[in-house]
């Protein structure tokens, strides 16, 4: 990330947290989450940009007592991604290919990755979202619970079920 170019965003510190730091630490995670959910590069880019813009405009409303800044940001990103999903589903079909097959290298490891990528496409949106939040965005179960508005144990249970479905999908892909 180009650190010099985003120096101007540090002015949000007065709003209760450092927006610049949050952006630096979360940009790739938000993108990974949105592309995992939307399975479309262009839609993910739009959703990511919209998420950070909304977060920037609402940064003064962030309340640390209600959760971490990352959970708050991913809550906004989720809404932006779902809005993008709604918008695109009305007008165009999504690509449905988040993983570029050409990027998967030859070998046993790459074969496993290809199987998992195919398995991901066979999951429902909700399961794919959970997996994206956990493994692409790197959120803890507590943070996932905050984003989805459910309890932490419920988030853990749902994630476990999603992983079982993914494994079954991978088995079916073999």
């Amino acid at each position: 990330m180009n650190e010099a170019t985003i120096a101007g965003a540090g002015t949000s510190i007065e709003a209760g947290f450092d927006f610049e730091r949050l952006y630096r630490s979360s940009r790739d995670d938000v993108y990974a989450y949105t592309i995992g959910l939307l399975r479309d590069r262009s839609a993910a880019e739009d959703a990511t940009a919209a998420a950070f813009e909304r977060a920037y405009r609402k940064r003064s409303r962030f309340n640390p007592e209600k959760g971490t800044a990352r959970a708050w940001l991913f809550g906004i990103a989720r809404n932006a991604a779902l809005d993008e999903l709604r918008r695109r589903s009305r007008h165009t079909q999504l690509d449905g290919e988040p993983i570029d097959p050409a990027s998967v290298e030859e070998g046993e490891s790459s074969e496993r990755r290809l199987v998992v990528a195919v398995g991901l496409t066979r999951l429902g949106t909700r399961e794919r979202e959970l997996i994206s939040l956990k493994f692409f965005a790197g959120l803890s179960n507590g943070e996932i619970a905050g984003v989805l508005g459910i309890s932490e144990s419920n988030a853990g249970t749902k994630l476990h079920r999603a992983m079982i479905k993914l494994r079954e999908a991978c088995d079916g892909a073999l």
Partner: protein, 376 residues
């Protein structure tokens, strides 16, 4: 154990599959963040959307403060407007403190009761109950349209005035004498008078002045000494005057009819019955006549209340507006403010409720459609 290992492998593979943003997109986003997400087409946006976007960015507490401040400012402006309008037209020339003694009123006084003498002819000119048919016809002709179409000059208007003069204690007696003279000159009547001399010198007069000469009378009274305050009021009594006159004419017609019946009565019993009815109707007509006379008197004579007050000019200039006035004004302003608040609440409460319901419905719709998008 095997399951845990599988889970671990899957997690590792997923982590390896984690997509990264394309460099060009990342660079573009970095630039936008650095620039603070500038609005793309500011000129294309309506002022309302710009304002809405700014309001959305405000923290709730600041938004609440801003809303309360705006509401208070609007309340203050509305109160000031209503208070100024409220004290305007009902009182003419209120509180003309330190007016020069030579001020003239007669030119400014509209002759509102002009024509009342003509009305009198149709109403109470005949106390015997006998009247000509031409009278009735002319009254019927006017009654049809007079209620709405009477010109200002023909209306019956009751007028009243209150004057407070500021005099030196030593001049009270002379001023009182001049009041009597002025009333006499205008053919007025002094209903009541009180004159006090000495330390608490002052005088009070209740006067009846012919309305046609009210302007001259007020001018003469104001010339006696320095005018401290003057109020004038008018009350249009055309409607009750016309209504009473019409009822009186009906009653007279009824009396005529009964007299005809009496003349043609054939039996003693029939005559007695008609006479009883005739007595009742005559009593009723007399009552109406008295009412009409009273109404005409109200229009013909104006009630003037005159007060001669004393006090040193220095203390007057400061004492003209005292604690009582301040309390009265404060009470008035508070009453107006309460009224404005109540009106604003009456308008804003339903609107706010509608807005809240619309906002809640929008939120619900958004949440549902997002959930549907997830399930699609």
């Amino acid at each position: 154990m095997e399951r845990s290992s599988e889970y671990h492998d899957l997690a590792t593979t997923l982590a390896e599959l984690r997509p990264t943003p394309p460099p060009d997109f990342a660079a573009e986003l970095d630039e936008r963040v650095a620039a603070g997400f500038p609005r793309r087409s500011r000129f294309g946006r309506s002022p309302f959307s710009v304002l809405a976007a700014r309001l959305r960015g405000l923290p709730p507490q600041r938004l609440l403060f801003a809303t309360c401040g705006t509401a208070l400012a609007a309340l203050a402006v509305a109160t000031a407007l209503v208070a100024s309008i409220d004290s305007g037209p009902t009182v003419v020339n209120q509180n003309i403190a330190k007016q020069s003694p030579g001020v003239r009123f007669s030119e400014e006084m509209p002759r509102l009761s002009k024509g009342s003498a003509e009305n009198r002819a149709a109403g109470v000119g005949d106390s015997s109950g006998v009247h000509s048919s031409s009278d009735i016809q002319s009254v019927q002709a006017t009654s049809a349209s007079s209620q709405a179409l009477r010109s200002t000059a023909d209306r019956d208007v009751e007028r009243s005035a209150r004057i407070a003069l500021l005099a030196d204690p030593a001049d009270v007696a002379d001023d009182s004498a001049e009041v009597f003279a002025a009333v006499h000159d205008t053919d007025g009547i002094v209903l009541h008078s009180t004159t006090t001399e000495g330390e608490d010198a002052g005088a009070r007069f209740d006067l009846l002045i012919p309305s046609a000469k009210l302007g001259d009378a007020l001018a003469a009274l104001s010339a006696i000494d320095e005018v401290r305050t003057r109020h004038e009021g008018t009350d249009d009594i055309t409607a009750p005057t016309l209504a009473t006159g019409e009822r009186l004419r009906d009653s007279r017609a009824r009396i005529d009819s009964l007299l005809t019946q009496l003349a043609s009565a054939e039996s003693e019993t029939e005559m007695e019955a008609v006479e009883v009815e005739l007595r009742d109707e005559r009593r009723h007509a007399a009552r109406l006549r008295a009412q009409l006379v009273h109404l005409h008197r109200r229009a013909d004579f104006s009630h003037v209340s005159l007060r001669i007050e004393t006090g040193s000019p220095a203390s007057d200039s400061e004492g003209a507006w005292g604690v009582d006035n301040a309390l009265g004004n404060a009470g008035h302003i508070l009453t107006v403010a309460a009224g404005v608040t109540l009106l604003a609440l009456a308008v804003l409460a339903p609107l706010s409720l509608l807005f809240l319901l619309a906002w809640l419905a929008h939120r619900l719709w958004l949440r549902t459609s997002r959930a549907r998008a997830l399930d699609a």
